[in-house]
Structure formats: C-alpha cells, structure tokens
Amino acid sequence: MLRYIATRFVVWIPSVLLVMLGVYALAYFGAGDPIKLIFLRAPGDVAYNPERIEAIRESAGLNRPFLVQFGSYIWNLLHGNFGNSLSSGRSVWAMISAAAPVSFKLALCSVILTAVVAIPLGLIAALNQNTRTDYAILGSALFLWAIPAYVAGPMLMVMLIMILPGSAVPYGWGGIFDVRIILPLLVLSFQPIALIVRQTRAAVIEVLSEDFVRTARAKGVPEVIVALRHILRPVLTPVVTQLGLIMITIVNGAIFVELVFGLPGLGRLTVQALTNTDYPVILAITLIGSFLVMISNLLVDVLYPLLDPRANDTRRSR
C-alpha cells in the first residue's frame, strides 16, 4: 500500500508542475502587468511615471525571461519559499498557511455534516420508496440542489440578521467551534447533501434488490438491523467514494461561501489573488488545490479496501 501511495505521489508531481507551468504561462503572457495594475488603480491626479514602474519591475525580478522566472520560482519552492504576494508583499506561505486550515476545517466539517445528514435521509427515503416520506426527502434535496450557494448564502444571512438582531452575526471566522460557522457550513453542505441523499437512495434501492437482504429478512433479523447492517453497510462503500469525490464540489463551493460569509479561507484568497493578478498566490493555490484533490482521491482509494473486504481479493487491472 505504501508503494501504491508513493507511486501516486510520484505521478502527481509532474502533472502539478505542468499545470503550474500552464498557469504561470497564462499569467505571464496573457494577464496584465501586475506592477502596472497596482499603480494604474490610483486615480487620475497621478502623473504617469514609466521610470518608476520599470524600477519596481526590475527590483522584483519581473523583467527576466519567462522560463528563468518560472525556474527560479520552482527553485524557491523546493526550498520551501513560496515567494511574496505581489499586491501586499506578504509571504505567500503565511497567507496560505493562514487560509488553508480554515478551508480545510470547513470542508471536513461539511463532509461530516453531509455524511451524518444525507446518508440516513437517503436510507430513510429508499426504505420508504415512493411514499410521502420519500417524496418529502427527495423534494427537499432537489430544492437544495436547485439553489446555488451564492443565492442561499446572502438570503439566509440577511434573514438571520433581521430576525435575530444582536445574535452572533454569521460573518467572519472565529474558529470551527464558533456559532458563526453554522450558517456557512449549512450553505456549503446544501448541494453535497442533496447529491449524497440522492446517491444513497439510489444505492440503497439497488442493494434492496440484492439476495443477501432477502437472506437477512429470511433469518428473521429485525428490520432496523437489516437496514443498518445489511443495507447501509454495503452502501457505505460507494457512498464514501462519492464523499471523497464531493471534496471537489466542496472546494469549489467554498469560494462562494467564503466570499459571502467573509471566511478567510483559500476560496477568498483565490478570488483576491485573481482580481489582483497576484500569481505567486495563484500558483500556490493551484499547488495546494491539486494536492488536496490528489490526497482526497488517494484517501478514497485507500479507504475502499478497508470498507469493502472484497476489494482485497478482486482482480484489478489498472
């Protein structure tokens, strides 16, 4: 297994390098000159001073050839130096290391919340297939599915401010155990919950027609135990796989939630870096994002045989 993980890691490195090269190239050749951006945002009463701009460009090393710049960037990266933000001059590593835990905690809690809420709901819906309970659960899931986070977020927030004046304003970050986290967490989890409810339901319905469920019933096992042990357990494997993949959805959704709720996570940092064409930050985010996705995929792959004893013996032809 360790070898497998190592292999995945080794395969990941060139791909992320390539992606970063691509992003770097796009930023370098396409996007505006970051130095100009900073200075041209000053209102009109500033005289145009090309010399000053060139001086800054030179001192930042931005007038070197493309590959040299990229090479030195990677070289610094290998030494643990992510460089400094072009817009604020702060160390990119400091920015990322402050933002990443926020996003990470948020995503983790969202996955847990999704699992805790969605799997039982999906199970209940499937067990009551085509009844009112089923329709109610499915309907709610669809409703959640249809409301984008950037619509749900602001609406819920303003409603809360208006309905409960003086209560903790659901804005900003006070740690994962802060009450303010409840609303963003909910909004972030709406779509994953909707997705997992539907997938759990479908998976359970499939398992329901399996012979071994009939066997369990034929043994006289109580329905609750049948549902939990014989139906839910086999369903967990595909659902957990989905939960892993849903990390991507959550990472993407976090951008909106972090913007709306003022959370200092990677999503907000991304938008900020993009508006500032701050490519040291963009590159670092690309690296971190790709790493997170790789890890969550890997986690799913490693978790799979733990959840499904069959996986150890089935033949895989990869």
Binding site: G32, K36, I38, P43, A47, S85, R90, S167, Y171
Partner: protein, 550 residues
C-alpha cells in the same frame, strides 16, 4: 425508578448509545445558545466605532497612499498639515510653512509638542526618512508622486538610482527645508494629507533604505503619531482595533475604540448597519442605499473629484473626431444620472472639474444632447454609419451604478445611432497590460487633493497625466499643455491661475474626448448617531478625535 432505568440502559448498549446521542444534541444546543448570548452580554466600555470595511486588505501600511486602508490613515497618523471640511488648511505636525520668493524653496517648522505614541519627539529626520521611504520604488506608494514629484532629487529615488531625496534638508531637529526642481506655489497644499505620512523613520525604513516589512504592526512595537494607535490586527480575518494614543499631542479622542471588520458583501454590510451592529463603513455604494439607511448616511459635500467616461482616441473608431462627437451627442446625460444615481448623493456635471475655485463659472459649454445631429455626424464619419463601426468596449464597469450608467449609454447608442456592438468588462485590470489598446471607453474618476483647478486638470487632461496616457490613449493637446504649464507657475491668489486653467479645459472640450458624468459627493458613510465624522478630500476623517456616538 431512575436507578432501574439506568441499570436497564447500561445492560443494553443501544439505549446507551441513544442517550449519548441525546446528550450530544443537548450539549450542542446549549453551546449554540451560549454562543448567541455571549455577544449580547459583552459590555460596552465606552464609545466604540464599529466600521465595516469592504475588502480583506492584506496590507495596511500607511505608506501605500491609496486603497481602502488609506481611508483610515488619519486615525493613526498625523499629517504635516490638514484641510478641514471647508477646505481651510490647519497646522498639525508642521506649525508654519514659508516659501522663498521664487516658490522653489520651502521651510517648514515642526511643532515642538509633536510626539509619537511612545512619547519620543517627532524630528525633522523622521520627516525626511518617511518621505524618502515613500519614494522608494518597492514601497509601492501610489500617490507619492503627487506630493513629492517636484522635490529636487525625487526622480532619482523613485527610479531606484538614489536612496536619499537630495532636495530635503534638516538644518535642525525642528526644521525641514525643501528645495523643488521647479517653482510650485501650491507645494504647501500638497502636504495637507496622509499620502506621505510622517512615521518614525527608524522603524519604517530599514538599513537598505527600503520599507521594513510589517513595521507598522503592534507586534513590531510600532509607534504611531495619530490620535489612535493600532492595538491589534488580524489580516486573515480582516479585523483591526484602534485605541486612543495617550501621548497624542492634539485633542483627546472621544472614542474608546475603533474596530474595523472586513465585510466584503455590501448587502450584508447594509443589514449590519441597519441593525445597529455597525455604525460606519469605509465606502458603501449601493443603488438602494437611501432606502436602506436613509439619505443622511450617504450624503455629504461635493468634492473636487468627478467620474467620467473617457474615450481612447488612439483606438478605432475613436480616432475619428466625428465618431466621438456623435457618441457624446447621442447620450442624454440627464437620463444617465437618473439611471445611475437617481437619489443622489452625486450631482450631474458637464465638465472635467468641479468643486474647485472657478468650476462654477467656467464658461464650459455643456455637450448637447442631439440624437439627430449625432446620427448625421456618424454618417459623415469615415465609418459611414453604425454598421461598419468596430465593437465598442467599456472597461471599469465595476459597480451597480456604473453598470447601469454604461448600459444606459449603450442603450442610447443603440436607439439613437443603431450601434449594437458594445461590450463591457467589470475589470479594467486585464486591459492595463499591453493590450490596453483594445479598449475604447474607460470609466474612471479624476480629481485633486487640493482646491485647485490647475492641479485637477494637470492630473486629468495634461499629456503627462496618467489619465491622458492610459485612459485617453496618449492624449496630447499642445494648447492644453502650454496653458496648464503657464497656470501652474501663477501663485494661488493670482486670478490668471484659474483663468488659464479654464482656458485649457475649453480647449479640451473641442477634442470631444469624454462623456461627463457626475461630480462626486463626500459621503459620510456613517449612521445618524455618529457625529464629528467630516471628511477631507482623501475620504479620511478630518478630525478623528472629534468622532463620537450619540
């Protein structure tokens, strides 16, 4: 009986689990309630100004000379002099300013009582060091040019060729003598702001002459010169706290604290202001602000800043004056205001300048609204009509009011001229690079920090201005340039100064290069309860020590 129950449940693992679940649920509900009430319980220890800030700024260095953090510079830094809301100049760190006869050498005296927050004196060396570091290329001070560009030796420092501005001399601890490279009768006015603030040079400037990273943070034991000092700053959650500076050499502040929280979303910020959670905002522009927070929230005096749509005449089809004229004449500017700021606080304007001496009787003839004439002009142009016109691209369409205005203009062109190929981008950033030429219309503001028409026009239509270079497509009108150059040499009380400037503006009119939009009002951006929050031309509170909350 409860005992029995407990025993029973102990022997059955499922029930224990359920109890555990219940307990967990109760705990989380209790914690939630506690968290909710915790906010209410928090005691008021004096007047606290809670400010919503529209951006998560990662850089609050006072040396930036721009950006949202700059709006609060006056709270923690003292400037050489300051303008009040009526435009009168008052002494602050400098008690006197004397030009030599040729307006090229200026002598400034520092208030002997002026001290930093640690009680140490503000010296001439601090002034010189602060200005030097502002000029350094890596400092990225956006507006340093505006204050210091005429000081002898500034150009060398800003181009990275020197580390000390040669034109600044410090004959003694309390005196600063500045030599200019050219005569500037209004040089003293340029210092009445926080663009190049006076800091403790030993802290802000490193041995290499560059700005020391994070020098202004409380964690760096920074000292401040303003009525407040920064006591805590959390860049990642966007929270800053200012508390009174006990050693401040001016009046004692009325506030016990200023808290600045980053709240990017305007609708959220509005709700929080409405609910009383916050009482001020750094800059809040929404189309429903009057309905939301009342007219008094956003109102304020007009200031010498205005927003216009600038034509890039280097770019087709703007290279044809007839096209430009047609495009301007096809827009009903009354409607433009109605579409963008129907309820104020800004006012429609017809010319480049406003709110500076001479602006009210400038003799600038407003561009007419004449759809028929416009159509005819377009037909007479080299493009012969709307069909062969290349697509018109707007940039800088970054807010709801601006978007409404741009869409109104586009619709006017469509209806009056039949032009359909119009596109608008939220950001001008992407077009600031080598491909800037793709853009025909830039929305941007021009203005001045001093009540002076020459400075205003020099920064907007003179060929050396960033506006002319970047927005007007390298605009150059020799007549405008020479008139402005001549006006700049006239002293402040010379009527020729204004007259020449207005002449230049009239000359600019004939080039048909912009759609005038509005004259900007200086909004309070504070609730009714907040008093003493008058602002200067930099949108900074004139006298932060006067702010109080009713």
């Amino acid at each position: 009986m409860s005992n029995q129950n407990n025993e029973a449940s102990a022997s059955q693992p499922q029930i224990t689990r359920r109890n555990a679940l219940k307990l967990g649920l109760c705990t989380s509900v209790a914690l939630g309630l506690f968290g909710l009430s915790a906010r209410i319980v928090m005691a008021q220890e004096g007047q606290v100004l809670k400010v919503a800030h529209p951006a998560f700024n990662q850089d609050w260095s006072p040396l930036r000379g721009g950006g949202p953090p700059y709006r609060w510079n006056s709270a923690w830094w003292a400037s050489p002099m300051y303008f009040d809301s009526k435009g009168d100049l008052h002494p602050y760190v400098f008690t006197s300013w004397e030009p030599a006869a040729d307006n090229k050498t200026w002598t400034f005296k520092i208030d002997p009582k002026a001290v930093f927050s640690d009680g140490s004196k503000i010296t001439a060396e601090d002034v010189k060091g602060s200005w030097n570091v502002s000029a350094m290329p890596n400092t990225k001070n956006q507006r340093a040019d505006q204050v210091l560009s005429k000081v002898a030796g500034y150009a060398d420092v800003s181009a990275g060729k020197a580390k000390e501005i040669s034109g600044i001399a410090t004959p003694d601890e309390g005196t600063v003598v500045v030599t200019l490279s050219e005569a500037d009768p209004i040089f003293f006015m340029r210092l009445g702001n926080h663009i190049a603030p006076i800091t403790k040079a030993s802290q802000s400037r490193g041995e290499d002459g560059e700005e020391v990273a994070d020098w202004y943070m409380p964690t760096s034991d920074a000292v401040y010169s303003g009525p407040f000092k920064l006591t805590s700053i959390d860049l990642d959650s966007g929270k800053l706290v200012f508390e009174p500076n006990e050693n401040f050499f001016g009046p004692k502040p009325k506030l016990a604290r200023i808290e600045i929280d980053s709240i990017e979303d305007n609708v959220t910020a509005t709700s929080l202001l409405k609910s009383g959670e916050y009482n001020a905002h750094t800059e809040l522009v929404t189309s429903t602000i009057v309905q939301d927070l009342g007219a008094s929230f956003a109102e304020g005096p007009l200031i010498p800043t205005s927003q216009h749509f600038w034509f890039n005449s280097a770019r087709a089809p703007m290279d044809d004056p007839k096209v430009r004229q047609a495009l301007i004449m096809a827009v009903d500017r009354e409607g433009l205001m109605k579409a963008s700021f129907p309820d104020g606080p800004h006012k429609k304007t017809d010319q480049v300048i406003n709110s500076v001496p001479g602006a009210d009787k400038s003799g600038f003839e407003p561009y007419p609204y004449d759809p028929e004439g416009a159509k005819k002009l377009l037909a007479e142009s080299t493009y012969g009509g709307p069909e062969r016109l290349p697509k018109l691209l707007f940039v800088g369409i970054s807010g709801p009011a601006i978007e409404a205005a741009a869409q109104f203009i586009a619709e006017q062109w469509r209806q009056n001229l039949g032009i359909t190929a119009v596109d608008m981008k939220p950001q001008q950033d992407a077009y600031a690079g080598p491909d800037q030429n793709a853009v025909q219309i830039f929305r941007d503001d021009v203005g001045t920090r001093v009540p002076d028409a020459v400075s205003y026009l020099a920064g907007s239509i003179a060929s050396t201005s960033s506006n002319a270079q970047n927005k007007l497509g390298g605009y150059k009108n020799d007549k405008v340039d020479s008139l402005l150059a001549e006006a700049a040499t006239k002293s402040v009380d010379d009527p020729q100064r204004v007259a020449l400037a207005l002449e230049a503006q009239k000359a600019f009119r004939e080039d048909w290069s912009f759609i005038p939009w509005y004259a900007q009002a200086m909004s309070r951006w504070a609730t009714d309860k907040v008093t003493g929050i008058d602002k200067n031309l930099d949108w900074q509170v004139v006298a932060p020590w006067d702010i109080s909350i009713a």
